[in-house]
């Protein structure tokens, strides 16, 4: 019983961690609090499902495609929509309010488009739906694949941020956007890349969600909410923290759903959020500021 919960929780947590990674990049590097994040995830999930049902393309094949598409959409969104707001705010607090309201509008725009295109019904596909036994627990293969994607992508991102020159630039912008230009960093370019990469991660997360979860066009807000809670738990802009917090939330949620009541998972998420805010608002793994 306990092993089942732990394994299922870790598998769910993998997807959450991936979701949160993209959001923490967008907020940490581009300084955009993107409330439409969950809708981007859903958009990708719907595209994967449509390609699977319409053309018979396997989700694993379409995954790189939607990732690239996500990057492109994120790039465009930043260049067209966010950049003017950044320029207008001139480094003052105005950007936060503006970006929240603008992405809030984007949320409805995408949601409305999804409702028109795919309807309000719940959608799911059966793909690699057979059980695999892990440590004596039967887990659906599609869930395991989703978990694998999360681990690979998450690890690659952590390594890239830690070791490459590109990662160094990203971390510099995340830490002090004001001083980064002094050492010759193009902050605008880095922010655009960060935002686009975050959208690409949202798309990958959406693709892996579409493999094993039932979802509807109005479920985006819940994804955004969970991703936000994880980002704050892990510390804003903290990639390893977001990974750990994502797994943690998956575990807790699965535990609450099996041991107490599936209707209380969101309440559990919020209870954790409240505890983090009261106890360590800088995040579980963040340094005191």
């Amino acid at each position: 019983m306990l092993t089942t919960t732990v394994i299922l929780g870790l598998v769910l947590g993998g997807t959450y961690a991936l979701l949160a990674l993209g959001l923490t990049l967008q907020y940490g590097i581009a300084r955009i609090m993107n409330l439409a994040y969950g809708e981007l995830t859903l958009l990708s999930a719907f595209v994967v499902v449509a390609l699977f049902q319409g053309l018979g393309l396997s989700p694993l094949l379409t995954l790189p495609l939607v990732a690239a598409g996500g990057y492109g959409i994120g790039w465009l969104l930043y260049a067209v929509m966010m950049r003017p707001l950044v320029a207008r705010s001139q480094g003052r607090g105005r950007l936060e309010v503006d970006s929240i309201l603008a992405t809030f509008g984007l949320l409805f725009l995408i949601q409305g488009g999804l409702l028109l295109a795919f309807g309000a019904n719940f959608t799911s596909i059966s793909y690699l739906d057979r059980g695999v036994t892990v440590l004596g627990v039967s887990v659906a293969l599609n869930r395991l694949i989703a978990f694998g994607i999360c681990v690979v992508v998450g690890a690659a991102l952590v390594v890239a941020l830690k070791t490459t020159r590109w990662g160094l630039i990203m971390r510099a912008v995340a830490l002090t956007p004001g001083s980064a230009p002094l050492v010759g960093i193009d902050v605008n370019r880095a922010a655009r890349q960060g935002f686009a990469l975050g959208s690409a991660l949202a798309a990958v997360a959406g693709a892996s969600i579409s493999m094993y979860q039932t979802f509807s066009a109005t479920a985006g807000v819940v994804f955004t909410m969970k991703a936000l809670v994880i980002v704050i738990m892990g510390g804003v802009g903290n990639v390893p923290g977001a990974l750990a917090a994502g797994f943690g939330l998956g575990l807790i949620e699965t535990f609450v759903a099996t041991a107490i009541d599936p209707g209380l998972t969101l309440a559990a998420t919020f209870a954790i959020f409240l505890l983090v805010l009261l106890w360590r608002p800088q995040g579980l793994f963040g340094a005191r500021r």
């Binding site: 309010v97 309201l101 603008a102 995408i110 949601q111 409305g112 807000v221 909410m225």
Partner: protein, 302 residues
């Protein structure tokens, strides 16, 4: 003079329902409700720039309080209970988030309504075993309208008073720069908390007053998130930091959305999204400020 005009308007609005059909009266109540909600929202969020997305959490809490208590207590006592519940809820939310940066508050308010809806649903299904309640109160539609009109007028009067008082000054400084506010001796957490609780109590009362119109109440009906979003966009369109801004944005938008939701229910979210983006890019300070800027430019040229 500054007092006379609003009072005349209020008097005219108060006698309006005597000449209106039931449908017209329904529209009047809706408009009055959104004027109240948007003004109450702006009371806290307009000056501090702490965007609250939790309007319906309080509105729904008020409506649900009436649904639970309508056969137990007399009506005024129910309203009092609703106000206390709304205030307590706001205190809990405010104490845990308003000490921190604005974005935490936004995120918390983003999910608050959904959280309360799920908790009530869970409680009703598992503990009381009744999901869905009826409200049978001996209150006519006109009385609801008059109550809402009074609440709206009180909200605007309260805002006018706060804007002249020390509290309003403190709120404006917080909105401009929190560090400066702290250095000038403003107790940040306390000022924000007072304004947030005041605004939330009004939102809760608005929900309680309109609730008899629902007759049948279920968590998914009264905690409809669209109410929160409409409130925000209405206040922003008119100008959230102006006394009459929220009211100015609420009336036309309410009518537009009423028309859209009955005629084009499918494209409704797209329109809402475009409106949000349009307001942020075109009239970031609201219509009143934009109009003032236009007239000022005209004067300079002349």
């Amino acid at each position: 003079m500054r007092l006379i005009l609003p009072l005349i308007c209020l008097a005219v609005l108060a006698v309006l329902p005597l000449h209106f059909s039931d449908y017209g009266l329904g529209l009047l109540i809706g408009a009055a409700t959104y004027v109240t909600l948007a003004s109450a929202w702006a009371l806290f969020s307009g000056h501090t720039h702490y965007i609250s997305l939790a309007t319906v959490a309080f509105y729904g809490a008020g409506a649900y309080t009436v649904a639970v208590l309508n056969e137990v207590l007399p009506y005024p006592a129910i309203l009092l209970c609703a106000a206390v519940i709304g205030g307590t809820l706001a205190l809990i939310v405010g104490l845990s988030t308003l000490r921190l940066r604005g974005v935490y508050f936004v995120i918390f308010s983003f999910g608050l309504a959904e959280l309360i809806r799920q908790l009530i649903t869970w409680y009703e299904v598992n503990v009381t075993g009744t999901l869905g309640r009826y409200i049978f109160l001996d209150i006519t539609t006109r009385q609801i309208y008059w109550q809402m009109l009074a609440l709206g007028a009180a909200t605007i009067a309260l805002t006018a008073w706060i804007m002249r008082a020390r509290l309003g000054l403190a709120l404006r400084v917080i909105g401009d720069d929190e560090t400066v506010a702290a250095h000038s001796g403003v107790n940040l957490a306390r000022v924000k908390l007072i304004a947030f609780v005041l605004s939330s109590v009004i939102l809760t009362l608005a929900g309680a007053i309109t609730s008899p119109r629902y007759v049948y109440v279920e968590p998914s009906i009264v905690f409809n998130p669209t109410v929160s979003f409409l409130t925000v966009i209405m206040a922003l369109l008119g100008g959230a930091n102006r006394l009459w801004g929220p009211a100015l944005g609420a009336v036309p938008l309410f009518l537009v959305f009423e028309f859209l939701s009955s005629n084009f229910p499918d494209t409704y979210p797209i329109f809402l999204g475009l409106l949000f983006i349009g307001v942020v890019f075109v009239v970031p300070d609201g219509l009143i400020s934009a109009a003032e800027r236009l007239t000022r430019r005209g004067q300079v040229r002349a």
